[in-house]
């Protein structure tokens, strides 16, 4: 018995060593050329002074992609949708069916989880406008006290249609946290790059907390009983004030993407079944 135990320990250690060696050989050399986004390049910018009260106005830098929490168990409907989604992570680009492969909109909330290099807030009477560097899209967040529509995607004549970026309302909780609730996101969009789905029943709560002048945190909570067995927080990500209050133009251009698919993605790919 003791011999068996020793054998197990030795075998386990050997397997771990062999595994780590194999991994080291198969990893690309870590030759990162520099910062991956403006957020990383800016680094620690300090607090920047007093925190403005009830104000997010300005240009903010974020990570290319937010760090995501694991999703909870999916419902049978959710599992079936997920099975149909072929992500770029799992498949060569040419073989995936990620909507953004053809420059379709990321949609909400995926646009707050991926390609989040830059966001902008500004205000108009009765609404806050949130814009994204990627594809230069915007969302209207109504702050005039109206309620969210209740029957998005319904068959009645007065039912609002689903939207790529949904319907949003917002309010302040205290002086530094802006809460945004959204419904009505088009089911054609994916929740994340892995291809996790969402349904028209999706409700999203974003909580933007201005920590100080230079730092903004956002927590995003997902509630979609048709797709997931329980609500969950998908991310808590951070943004940094951009001193120049400007950022790059970053558009997914269909003709350029078609050229990329023809010249690079398709020759580089092969087909496989999921």
């Amino acid at each position: 018995m003791r011999n068996l135990f020793q054998c197990c320990v030795v075998s386990l250690a050997g397997a771990l060593v062999a595994s780590s060696l194999a991994f080291a050989q198969s990893s690309p050399k870590p030759n990162f050329g520099g910062p991956e986004d403006l957020y990383e390049k800016l680094g620690d910018t300090g607090s920047g002074g007093p925190t403005p009260r009830r104000d997010l106005t300005g240009f903010w830098a974020g990570k290319v992609a937010a760090k995501l929490n694991a999703v909870p168990s999916m419902t049978p409907w959710g599992q079936e949708q997920f099975r149909l989604h072929k992500s770029n992570g799992e498949y060569p680009v040419a073989d995936s069916n990620d909507p953004i492969k053809g420059c379709d909109p990321l949609g909400f909330p995926r646009n707050m989880l991926f390609m989040t290099r830059g966001i902008v807030f500004t205000t108009m009477p009765g609404k806050t406008i949130e814009m994204s560097e990627y594809n230069r899209i915007w969302r209207e967040i109504w702050t005039d006290g109206r309620e969210l529509p209740k029957n998005v995607g319904g068959r009645s004549a007065d039912a609002p249609d689903p939207r790529w970026y949904g319907y949003s309302v917002g309010h302040w909780e205290g002086d530094y946290t802006f809460v945004v609730n959204t419904v009505g996101s088009d089911e054609r969009t994916w929740l994340d790059n892995a291809g996790h789905p969402h349904s028209i029943e999706l409700r999203v709560e974003e909580r933007y907390t201005r920590v100080n002048h230079n730092h903004l945190e956002v927590t995003i909570k997902i509630d979609d009983p048709k797709a997931y067995t329980q609500p969950f927080v998908i991310t808590k990500s951070e943004f940094t004030w951009i001193p120049e209050q400007d950022f790059e133009e970053e558009l997914c251009v269909p003709s350029e993407q078609a050229e990329y698919l023809k010249l690079v993605a398709e020759p580089a790919a092969h087909s496989k079944s999921k």
Binding site: L12, A15, S26, A65, E248, Y260, P267, A268, A269
Partner: protein, 137 residues
């Protein structure tokens, strides 16, 4: 001894199975992530400054004098601008050294690692958002 070997293989097999999901990204990439190919005296034929990918087309001659046409992809302009690139960094006719991760399927395509210009300027591709996986952005 035979039983110990069997136990080792069983354990190793089990660990490989456990580890597989962690490496799932690597297994699905189009490129050989463990192999960087270096091509010297390459000639730029076209540089496409594009979203979501920039594309470098170039020619290389093999030892027999035959010309091979290659395509390499790099990150988006937003990503590689931070590393010193711009729309005119590479122009047709430039003679360069290219390092790239080639396709697994023997096509003349790859993900760029870096490009070295005739004057020694080095342009690196963007860091991968997922830290090591050759992702799209």
């Amino acid at each position: 001894m035979q039983s110990k070997l069997l136990l080792f293989l069983t354990l190793f097999g089990g660990l490989s199975t456990i580890c597989r999901p962690l490496n799932a990204h690597h297994g699905s990439a189009s490129y050989k992530t463990d192999k960087v190919v270096v091509m010297k005296q390459a000639t730029v034929t076209k540089f496409v400054w594009a979203n979501p990918h920039s594309i470098l087309l170039f020619d290389v001659k093999d030892k027999h004098g035959n010309t091979a046409h290659w395509a390499g992809e790099a990150g988006s302009p937003s990503a590689i601008r931070l590393l010193g690139w711009n729309k005119n960094s590479l122009q047709a006719g430039d003679v360069i050294t290219v390092q790239l991760y080639p396709s697994k399927f023997e096509s003349n395509v790859g993900r760029l690692e870096e490009v070295v210009l005739a004057d020694g300027t080095t342009l690196k591709d963007s860091p991968r958002g997922d830290r090591g996986v050759l992702s799209r952005y």
